[in-house]
Symmetry: C2
Subunit: 214 residues, 2 copies
DNA sequence: GGATTTATGGAGCGATGACACCAAAAAAAA
DNA sequence: TTTTTTTTGGTGTCATCGCTCCATAAATCC
């Protein structure tokens, strides 16, 4: 057929791809997001991406490689609002209030699958998929580390009691976000998720009247 | 026919099974718990259960039927500590403190797989597995309903502020428990989970000094 | 002891999964 | 134009998946 427009600059010698790689990747991301790795078959993928098996392997290498790219693409989407919220120029409590509220909103968009692509992915899988499991667990750890960093800065700024367990607090909000992602996938409304987020903020550590208490 | 099938006594006419059905079911439960439905293959199952393919179909019907039985078996395990904690004879706040602490302990037992078999299962799956997805989502709803019931009783007993949003509070603790289950699967220690649970209890609604405040 | 009923071992089945190969096609580079 | 490089369509492969069939073994009932 007639060659179509390709994104960005088309440099290279051979025949140009007839499809938009980024667009195909986003289609794959949506499918993986919605159905998970196992739940998305090869045929599902090439159908949704609108390409043939040959083009698939030529452009993406393998299903697993595509999944990793899809994860990266998701990070660009979700990492956007996530780190945007974390790097706001406000006090730490407000930051986390906005972060959890943003999650409630993002987990219930009508133009994207519900929930989070990473939050609960590959927690139960075959031993042969240990690599994927570790990859996803590592991503979860990374987002929690980002929260730890923000809390540490907040601690330094005096936003938190001196005896706050930073790691535990980050783990708490990490757990909450993942649970919210499950709720979203089960069909919870945005309002419900916002309520959960609001309650979660009630757990924010109060200033200690007796800081030298062990 | 004169069906005198009593589960305890083995009264049947034909050849008796050479394996313990309950034991085989528990082996399957562990495997499903650890690897999920897709991650557990037929061959994995019959190997772990120590039976042949014929015996498998003779005794359990199909992989999906076995999974449902495994879920039921899990409910008997986890439903044990869950409703035990919920039906304690204490005030509502203490009850939920014990519930979350019990989850932290149960999610990190060394004689069982980490986390919860139901908490995050089948949230991402193929359309062909809609039945399983709905089954699991329904189980999650049920456990949340049990928390709603307990909170309602607590409200009636005066343990909670009159303006408490019961459903939202139950959804919050439901989210927290599911997030804790993910943490457990990612390798979090029991102490870490207990910390998360403790922080989660800080979100418990305080008595409102100004209930007519919007 | 038959007769009946149920379980077992073993072999194999159709479908699907992910992927590989290759010759033709379409572009830039020479 | 010729050469070189890359994509594409079509077909084939090989393993695994969940499952089935059948002859036989082992129990109970008459």
């Amino acid at each position: 057929m007639t060659p179509k427009k390709i994104d960005g600059e088309r440099r290279g010698r051979g025949r140009p791809p007839s499809f938009d790689r980024g667009q195909a990747l986003r289609a794959a991301m949506r499918l993986f997001w919605d159905r998970g790795y196992d739940g998305t078959s090869f045929d599902d993928l090439i159908a949704a991406m609108g390409i043939s098996a040959s083009s698939f392997y030529n452009a993406f290498g393998s299903k697993e490689a595509l999944y990793q790219e899809a994860i990266d693409a998701y990070i660009k989407v979700a990492g956007g609002w996530f780190s945007a919220a974390l790097n706001e120029e406000t006090d730490t409590r407000t930051t986390f209030g906005h972060l959890t509220a943003a999650a409630a909103a993002e987990f219930t968009r009508d133009d994207l699958p519900a929930g989070c692509m990473i939050a609960v992915a590959a927690t139960q899988c075959a031993p042969t998929q240990a690599r994927l499991r570790d990859l996803l667990a590592s991503q979860r750890t990374q987002s929690e580390d980002a929260m730890v960093d923000r809390l540490r800065r907040g601690m330094a700024a005096g936003d938190l009691p001196a005896d706050t367990d930073i790691e535990a607090l980050a783990a708490f909000y990490g757990s909450l976000l993942r649970g919210m992602a499950v709720q979203a996938r089960d069909g919870a409304s945005r309002e419900r998720l916002l309520e959960i987020a609001r309650i979660g903020m009630q757990a924010w550590p109060a200033a200690q009247p007796h800081p030298r208490d062990s």
